[in-house]
Symmetry: C2
Subunit: 98 residues, 2 copies
């Protein structure tokens, strides 16, 4: 593959945003989630599996995700009772009236 083609592929990849629905089962899932968000992926995280296991671990996980999202210039918000949405920079969560 030529250098020009590589550059085009890299450019193409960097433009596309991915949206993933994932389940949070353990605080050990956080590094992978944070890596996804760093790679321009929006993560819709179902937190009920961890909520059923440990509310303490859930609380700590959400705090860590909040700090992470804020520090990278992304965004984070609850979605109903079961989910949290974490976005990379460039994707802002709308908090308007409905």
């Amino acid at each position: 593959m030529s250098g020009v083609m590589q550059a085009r592929n890299l450019e193409g990849k960097s433009k596309e945003i991915l949206l993933k629905a994932l389940a949070l089962k353990s605080i050990e899932d956080l590094p992978k989630i944070q890596e996804d968000v760093s790679n321009k992926t929006i993560v819709i995280l179902k937190v009920t599996p961890l909520a059923q296991k440990s509310l303490e671990e859930l609380k700590s996980s959400v705090e860590q995700l909040y700090e992470f999202a804020t520090s990278v210039g992304g965004d984070i918000a609850r979605l109903g009772d079961e989910r949290v949405v974490i976005t990379p920079p460039g994707v802002r969560i709308w908090r308007g009236l409905q």
Copy 2:
């Protein structure tokens, strides 16, 4: 406002993607949702309000949204039992194994 500033503002707006959580209460909500997606907004749509009113209207609405998302080069997928996600072009929904 000068033409240069306007151009900068337009450029800034076009780069940012918005993510909105909305509720689908009627098939009459579709034009606004489609307008949002056309304006680079990801819509996470809670469909239970319409499901409780009319399953026929829900079915028709989801079919219309599917056709719309496909026609504009966006993406659409269910999120659990209560929600549907519709994305504009440039945002792809990941359908990997978990």
